[in-house]
Symmetry: C2
Subunit: 336 residues, 2 copies
Amino acid sequence: MSKRRKASIEDVARRAKVSITTVSRVINRVPTVSRKNQVKVEEAIAALKYTPDVNAQRLARGLSNAVGLVMPGYPGIFHSFYAIELIRGVGHACETLRLDMVFHITNGYNPLSTAGVGGIIFADIIENRSQIEAAVEAGVSCMVINNIVDDLDVSYIGVDNIAGGRVATDYLVSLGHTKVAIITGNIRAQAGAQRLEGFKQTLKEKEVAVRPEYIVEGDYSRRSARLAAEQLLELPEPPTAIFAASDDMALEAMTVIMERGLRVPDDISVVGFDDNPSSIYGPVALTTIRQPLFQMAESAVRNLNAIVLGKKKPPIRNILSPQLVVRESCARPPIQ
Amino acid sequence: MSKRRKASIEDVARRAKVSITTVSRVINRVPTVSRKNQVKVEEAIAALKYTPDVNAQRLARGLSNAVGLVMPGYPGIFHSFYAIELIRGVGHACETLRLDMVFHITNGYNPLSTAGVGGIIFADIIENRSQIEAAVEAGVSCMVINNIVDDLDVSYIGVDNIAGGRVATDYLVSLGHTKVAIITGNIRAQAGAQRLEGFKQTLKEKEVAVRPEYIVEGDYSRRSARLAAEQLLELPEPPTAIFAASDDMALEAMTVIMERGLRVPDDISVVGFDDNPSSIYGPVALTTIRQPLFQMAESAVRNLNAIVLGKKKPPIRNILSPQLVVRESCARPPIQ
DNA sequence: CTGAAAGCGCTAACAA
DNA sequence: TTGTTAGCGCTTTCAG
């Protein structure tokens, strides 16, 4: 392993007997290079196994081809379909746009090293806005997913979570349920809070009692859902329908229900949120609210990139409508 | 939003009435700065909201404070405890070492942009070695997790997967099982193949038949485990014990078993691999093989960093012993 | 179509 | 303790 210094553009130029500029041109696919030089340079590059130094490129260009993805590091986040889909989506978009994805798992408080990235995607939940404020202040373009931030100069894309909560709840009520419970997501985050809000709104409008004991807090983890479901089932008057703020939690709730010898949907109806494909494979396919996470993430990257490149003017704001996907986990309530 | 150009080190120097070098010194905490200048510079930095340009730093230092994490993007990877723990571990270590984590999800074939990172961690499965070879060739330090690569100048850390497979299988056999099946991991990856290898070795040594129909291939996803478990249970002579190459798969297998009205461990024993905490919460706590993924990931980052900084000489190679964690999912086989 | 030269913002000798 | 200066490797005017 001769630890020879990495070849630089100068080495290539020398070897190809052209100027550094010409080499730069072929690297960047600038068309104004003669076929002959083009070939010479490419040969030199191959021979020297030359790869451009991104740091030098970024410095010279004054632009970074990296996008930051920041996610809160609370327990369970990584076990959520939600987070995973966003990572996949961002990762995929970065791959096709040849962007680096700088991934930050954060507690939400530590200052972020916004440095070195062209833009930042704040994914998932933000309990605390200091990081995003700092990023805006530092002049870095920001894109927020699933969290409406109208008072800052940032873009966002997300689903209408209040509407999502409403659609789910409305469906359950329309089936005839009056004892409907919710296992919430993290309610210190906007998405979780809004899903709950939609739930309450609909119940009120339909004149169905909103019982405090039917509102139990989860955090998107299966574990929290198990606890929540157990708590719900042990109630003197258990609900006949449960809306879980994520499919993962809905799945776990179904498992708990079945473990107790009850049936879904005969005894208890369940609706989830996300449209996680794995919710099709269980014993009972889950009725859910679809939010196109992967696409949202991809779109976030593309738009952010366009902003960074100056091709679009921020803020870009995009709220999608969540959609009910009816499968097998809901039915009319059992007759008393 | 006055899009004023970001303050540079020169602006700070001018404002603090010192040289650029002095500013650089306070940024980098070089002790030889007078208290007075120190304060002046800090004030200027605060006033200008200055943050160093990492690209310029990296270029000047000839060193990148970023580490790459590359993971294969095959379906299901992100739903695995395995991948998640590694991401968390790497992320955590990066956070404490103030390193950027550049995350690459790859198909294993596309050339990696190794550029711009000080070192690369290849996590999880590598079906194809071209990327790692390219990285080595490019002179980037590499650290491979859970995959022994002795013929390349790379470091690795991992668990002894053959031993893991042996321990699990041995435990089952020692309980008296003779009809023991395996749901493998991705066997195109070393870890998956070795777990299977350990399984076979032990069976042979203990003179228990290795039946082909008892070896069914999974890919660490719950879905694949469900399919595998169903296939196993539908055999004319179903196994009395199942070793799944991940806890996720073991959990899914248990679910399938229970759905069919069979009991764990009374009818069928199950052992997993990982020691995923969520395998404690189900109806039957899972017996499993522990591999300290989070710690392995952290250690990978620390060692890699030490190598990049020249504080340790590669290759650093570290194979840990997996450990059996006995809980409730295994018992003696049922009496015929 | 090509090349010379001026930076990009910072670090690290080296001198003072 | 401080400042001068020469790069780090690349892009990008601007002339030719």
